[in-house]
């Protein structure tokens, strides 16, 4: 077990807590930077996809994991980001500007929709976000002059400073840069007063309010930032899809996003990233597994959403702290061996009616 001697308050604020972190994350970054040289184009494309998912995952983690606002409609922000980007590109805006605008518009929508949402609690909030996503989907279907309706909308290649970024490795780096920026923003946020206020609202609204936290203001803020990040992810997602149709942004996508944060581990930045890797790799894993499974299961229609469901159930029932929680336990197990007790992470259940209301 590593003990850190703290000699300055700054140590608690640092992003990388000690040199071990610097080493391992540095190594990881180098590996990611070198990946396009070493790996096949297909894998680079898939990694870029995971980066996009990770951006969206961070975007969703802010309301769901940090602020405790259970959104079931984040596919809407992906859609807004994607369509804004595609539309602006087709009207001749430059790539950088259109991606930025996609994020900003999605952020504005997030802030606006949070105005009615902010007073709703728990289940009402969840249902209302779901309704919001359905309404957005329907608007996309019928606003044909901008979105192309059911016919769809083609997405142009990104062009930066006159260079066409059509190659997979170029797109890979674009996604990586956005991911790093969003990651940094998220980390900064949760170590700053705003992030603390989010977590306070998640754990006890009444207490947060009596500590001087303006609930409405911070809920709107949380959704605006979430809209920004998820919108950026949507803008990049548009390039990945190359052709936008409304049903790419349906309820299933919202659930996929939710699955990322739940499976990864609610309330942690690591969780969003791990969840993105998991959800990004899952279709590949299913595709590979299909070849080995008996045809009765392998050819099962609707296998993928069903498997999503099974995995979510298993995580919710057996590992609510997600992959990251599992990793923490494993690490602690190694560090404390042979003294580790299972009860260390015993979950607290609440049986009182009022305790569960929030």
């Amino acid at each position: 077990m590593r003990f850190i001697f703290k000699t300055s308050y700054l140590q608690d604020i640092r992003l990388l807590k000690h040199n071990g972190y610097v080493f391992w994350y540095g190594l990881l970054l180098i590996a990611i930077l070198l990946a396009p040289l070493l790996l096949d184009e297909f894998y680079i494309g898939e990694m870029a996809f995971i980066f996009i998912y990770a951006i969206a995952g961070l975007g969703l983690m802010i309301p769901v994991g940090f602020t405790g606002l259970p959104s079931l409609g984040h596919a809407a922000f992906m859609a807004i980001g994607a369509y804004t980007n595609a539309y602006l590109l087709s009207s001749g805006y430059s790539f950088l500007l259109s991606v930025a605008l996609a994020g900003i518009i999605s952020s504005l929508v997030g802030g606006l929709i949070a105005v009615p949402l902010k007073r709703m609690t728990g289940i009402y909030f969840a249902i209302a976000t779901l309704a919001f996503a359905i309404i957005v989907e329907e608007i996309i279907v019928h606003w044909e002059s901008v979105t192309g309706g059911l016919g769809g909308l083609a997405v142009d290649y990104p062009v930066i400073l006159g260079f066409e970024m059509g190659e997979t490795w170029q797109f890979y780096f674009i996604c990586l840069i956005v991911l790093l920026l969003v990651l940094l923003g998220t980390l900064n946020l949760i170590r700053s007063p705003s992030g603390r206020a989010f977590i306070a609202i998640r754990d006890s609204e009444i207490s947060a309010e009596s500590m001087g936290i303006n609930l409405s203001y911070y809920k709107i803020k949380s959704f605006a930032i979430s809209g920004l990040f998820t919108g950026l992810a949507g803008a990049l997602f548009a390039h990945r899809l190359a052709y936008l149709a409304p049903d790419a942004f349906n309820f299933l996508l919202s659930i996929q996003l939710l699955m990322m944060v739940v499976v990864g581990g609610l309330g942690t930045v690591h969780g969003a990233i791990l969840g993105a890797i998991f959800v990004g790799l899952l279709p590949q894993a299913i595709a590979i597994a299909k070849d080995y499974l008996p045809p009765f299961i392998g050819e099962f229609p609707g296998l993928e959403p069903g498997l999503f469901g099974v995995i979510l159930v298993l995580f919710i029932v057996f590992e609510p702290m997600g992959l990251y929680g599992r990793w923490i336990k494993f690490k602690l197990f190694l560090e404390m061996f042979p003294l580790y007790r299972k009860a260390t992470f015993k979950r607290q259940k609440s049986y009182l009616k009022t305790e569960r209301v929030q």
């Binding site: 308050y9 700054l10 608690d12 604020i13 923003g185 900064n188 946020l189 170590r191 700053s192 007063p193 705003s194 992030g195 603390r196 206020a197 977590i199 306070a200 998640r202 754990d203 006890s204 009444i206 207490s207 947060a208 309010e209 009596s210 500590m211 001087g212 936290i213 303006n214 609930l215 803020k221 605006a224 930032i225 309330g267 607290q348």
Partner: protein, 256 residues
């Protein structure tokens, strides 16, 4: 000038008057205690002062300013902090984190500066951290600094909650049953801290408490209520000897 005063405050829930025309004044730098049987409306009075409930009629002033209709989240920036009867800490955060949230009203940074964690934010954070460390020293919480609230024993949580209220730099704190669920030793400690809060920090205290030895040990004045109405007000001794109060606690003698 009265420091804090509640004039004729009443609140109704579905036709039932939980608090009925209660008035009291609190002097600056004193410890004022509200006592009464269970369900007398003590916590409701706290919830009225901290604006969780809207009162039906009456007026509350603090430092000669009307705070009757203040939004809930602004009460604390006027200098009134509180604790809760059943502890409302942020369970999935560390003690340090909880105390830093106590500093929230003094955090003045915008969304963008937070996203980029500008040097100004960093400077401010260090400053808040220093203030939090003062409170940690004051309440002897050093040992628990980086522990999650959900892993702490009940007694320590009570103290952390008190600490969180102190971190707001309040002029007055509302303590809702600070000694409930504490053992004898912990209650003793709590009594000293409450006394220290008054004497060393100069903070006015309004508290709701059942433990009469603690009440008489620290209180300057006591208000006894039952069924939302005032029974008696005065020094701890006067209130304890008041026949109405005794009747409320022990029940009326049967007349045969």
């Amino acid at each position: 000038m009265t420091f804090f005063s509640a004039k004729g405050i009443s609140i109704e829930f579905g036709g039932i008057r939980a608090v009925d025309n209660v008035s009291f004044d609190v002097d600056k730098g004193s410890i004022y205690t509200i006592v009464g049987p269970n369900g007398a409306g003590k916590t409701t009075i706290f919830n009225i002062i901290s604006r969780i409930y809207n009162l039906t009629s009456g007026k509350i002033t603090f430092e000669d300013q009307d705070i009757t209709h203040l939004p809930t989240h602004q009460v604390v920036s006027r200098g009134i902090a509180r604790t809760f009867q059943n502890i409302e800490l942020f369970d999935h955060a560390t003690v340090l984190h909880n105390l830093l949230i106590g500093r929230h009203i003094h955090c003045k940074s915008g969304l963008l500066s937070d996203l980029f964690f500008l040097p100004s934010v960093k400077r401010m954070e260090l400053e808040h951290r220093r203030r939090v460390e003062d409170v940690i020293d004051f309440l002897d919480l050093q040992h628990y600094r980086d522990q999650l609230i959900q892993n702490l024993p009940y007694g320590v949580r009570k103290i952390v909650e008190l600490g969180r209220a102190l971190c707001t730099d309040p002029k007055m704190v509302l303590l809702d049953e600070p000694a409930s669920g504490l053992n004898v030793d912990e209650t003793e400690d709590m009594a000293f801290w409450i006394d220290d809060i008054k004497k060393l920090l100069g903070i006015t205290v309004i508290m709701v408490e059942h433990n009469m030895s603690l009440v008489s040990q620290v209180s300057d004045r006591v208000l006894a209520i039952n069924y939302g109405k005032v029974l008696a007000e005065g020094s701890p001794r006067e209130v304890q000897e008041n026949p109405e109060v005794i009747k409320a606690y022990l029940g009326e003698e049967d007349v045969r």
